[in-house]
């Protein structure tokens, strides 16, 4: 029972952590929230759906979908962020919100308002049993994939020059620019990586819910929001930790709460968000020292 709970929390938490990490990458550098972030999952879902008839193997389709997610993420930068970045926080929030609405309604208009089935390889939903725990293969895969991604991500941030530049930009953007780090390159890279992480997480998410509809992006967006607020809006460790904490809280509610209170679960989680914003606005783990928006 306890082991089952731990596996459930880890598999859900690994997804949440990936979503949160993608959001915090952009927030860390620009101090701006990307409301169009959830729509990357929509892009993933519809890309795989549209490639359904093609003769390619599934993994090839998934890779194309992830490339699309990266592409749309970079588009978000170019259309919603870059033109208004200097103006005001509110402006960027609204443009990214508008961009999200644009994508959603494009899906509504050009594809269909009805949920569409997304093909997934059948082995993902087979269940395996070990140590008395029964769980679908996809849960094991998502834990594994997430940990591999996190290791690669941390190594990239720590050892590569671009990673170093991004960390510098997240700490003090103006100083980094003055020392010759190309601002636009760093920001575009951040968006591309954000798209990559959301793409991987979105593919895993799709294997879980198996269909796609125009409003599909809302839940991942909310998850990423809550997780980053809990863990710390400016720290990558915080985002990962926040993802796992959120999964723990959600799962505990699922196990403990009776059915008629369970429908108020969102009320509890969002109240936690508001409380954390009030008590510890910087989240559980503090990020770099300066948080001045540039």
């Amino acid at each position: 029972m306890i082991l089952q709970f731990i596996v459930d929390v880890l598999s859900l938490g690994s997804l949440y952590a990936l979503f949160a990490l993608g959001l915090v990458l952009v927030y860390g550098i620009l101090k701006l929230v990307n409301f169009a972030y959830g729509e990357l999952v929509l892009v993933i879902g519809y890309s795989i759906f549209l490639l359904k008839g093609s003769p390619f193997p599934w993994f090839f389709m998934a890779s194309i979908a992830i490339l699309m997610s990266i592409f749309i993420s970079i588009c978000t930068d170019y259309f919603a962020f870059r033109p208004v970045r200097e103006k005001s926080v509110t402006a960027v929030l609204i443009t990214s919100f508008a961009f999200a609405t644009l994508l959603q309604n494009a899906a509504l208009l050009f594809i269909s308002p009805k949920p569409k089935n997304v093909p997934m390889p059948s082995f993902l939903s087979d269940s395996v049993q070990f140590l008395g725990v029964i769980t679908p293969v996809r849960n094991i895969i998502s834990i594994f994939v997430t940990f591999v991604c996190l290791i690669i991500f941390y190594q990239f941030m720590k050892r590569s020059i671009l990673g170093l530049a991004m960390r510098a930009a997240a700490t003090n953007f103006n100083m980094a620019r003055m020392l010759g780090i190309p601002a636009n390159l760093v920001i575009t890279t951040a968006f591309a990586m954000s798209g990559l992480l959301a793409g991987i997480a979105g593919t895993l998410w799709m294997s879980k819910i198996a269909n796609v509809f125009p409003g599909v992006g809302l839940e991942p967006l909310l998850i990423a929001f809550i997780a980053t607020v809990i863990g710390g809006m400016r720290s990558v460790h915080g985002a990962v930790l926040g993802g796992f904490i959120l999964a723990f809280v959600d799962m505990s509610f699922n196990y403990i709460l009776p059915q008629d209170i369970l429908k108020f679960r969102d009320v509890f989680t969002f109240s936690i968000v508001i409380l954390i914003l009030l008590i510890r606005p910087e989240g559980l783990i503090k990020g770099p020292a300066t948080g001045v928006r540039t």
Partner: protein, 343 residues
Amino acid sequence: MNILKNENFSNILFFLLVFIFIYFINFFAGSSIFERIIINLFIYIILVVGLQVFMGNSGILSFAHIGFMSIGAYSSGLLSMPIQMKGFVLRDLYPFLENIAFDPILSICIGGIFTAIIAAILTLPLMRLNDAAAVISSFALLMVIHSIVVGWSAVTNGPRTFFGLPKATTLEIAILFSFLTVVFAFIFKNSKFGLLLRASRDNDIAAASIGANIVYLRWFAIIASAFLAGIAGGLWGHFITSFSPKSFYLRETFLVISMIVIGGSFTVTGAIFGVILVTTGYELLRWIEKVIKFNDSITFEFIGLTEIVLSITMIIFLITKPKGLFPFKEIGDTISKIIKKKK
């Protein structure tokens, strides 16, 4: 003549004339579809000008106002619904609410006050947050209100449709309420509270140093603004007479925010013209959607075009005119200046 010298006079007079003008257009058009659009327009004016009272003066974007609108709509509906309908729509209603059926207008006012009280309780701690944290918390507040409305089926009929409200909102009532809202918004903007709040919007540290208590100023503004949103919700509920929690969610939030952004959130003029422009555009696009659908016998569902056009317009507006069509000056002031020059 003291009143003529008042700084708000020219603005209020201008919008009184605009409202009367719209009323007469409707009177001569005599079409019931047109009248529905106009009533909707005036309800949106109450909501968006209400939002402007908070957002324009404090400079903080709020997603929560559609949530406040839903509180107003549901609470006024609960009070005014006829007793025999209550047994039919809400089977598990609490006994103390079962035998009440107030006059709709009275219920709308009580609904507004109730919304203001809820907002007062919920938002006081949130008012010290700035920038992204303030926006995310208002977004979270919208989610909380939405989930409570969906979940609390004893009073809201859950995710299903809430119906059986008496139809009470006529064009005259909608115009009267929105005129009062506009008067309030101008008086508030130029009052001591409004001036201090606008000072804190432009530079919070400087405003605090001259003694502005920013938290309480913002709190006061959001209570007033939530009251207006609640009134708008009540009027809307007694106009549509049946709605579900879906009517108060992200789609509507997007619509309202696009109105205030396109018009310009710093001025009441901007808020009103934003509503008029977006409503006109929206109805035109809906009409185009309909025409295309009927003429060419396209088989697929043709929805979403309106939102696509609206979101592209919004992005273009924010890039080219980030402060909206009326960034700083109210239209009444501009007009009176022109008149004085000619003299």
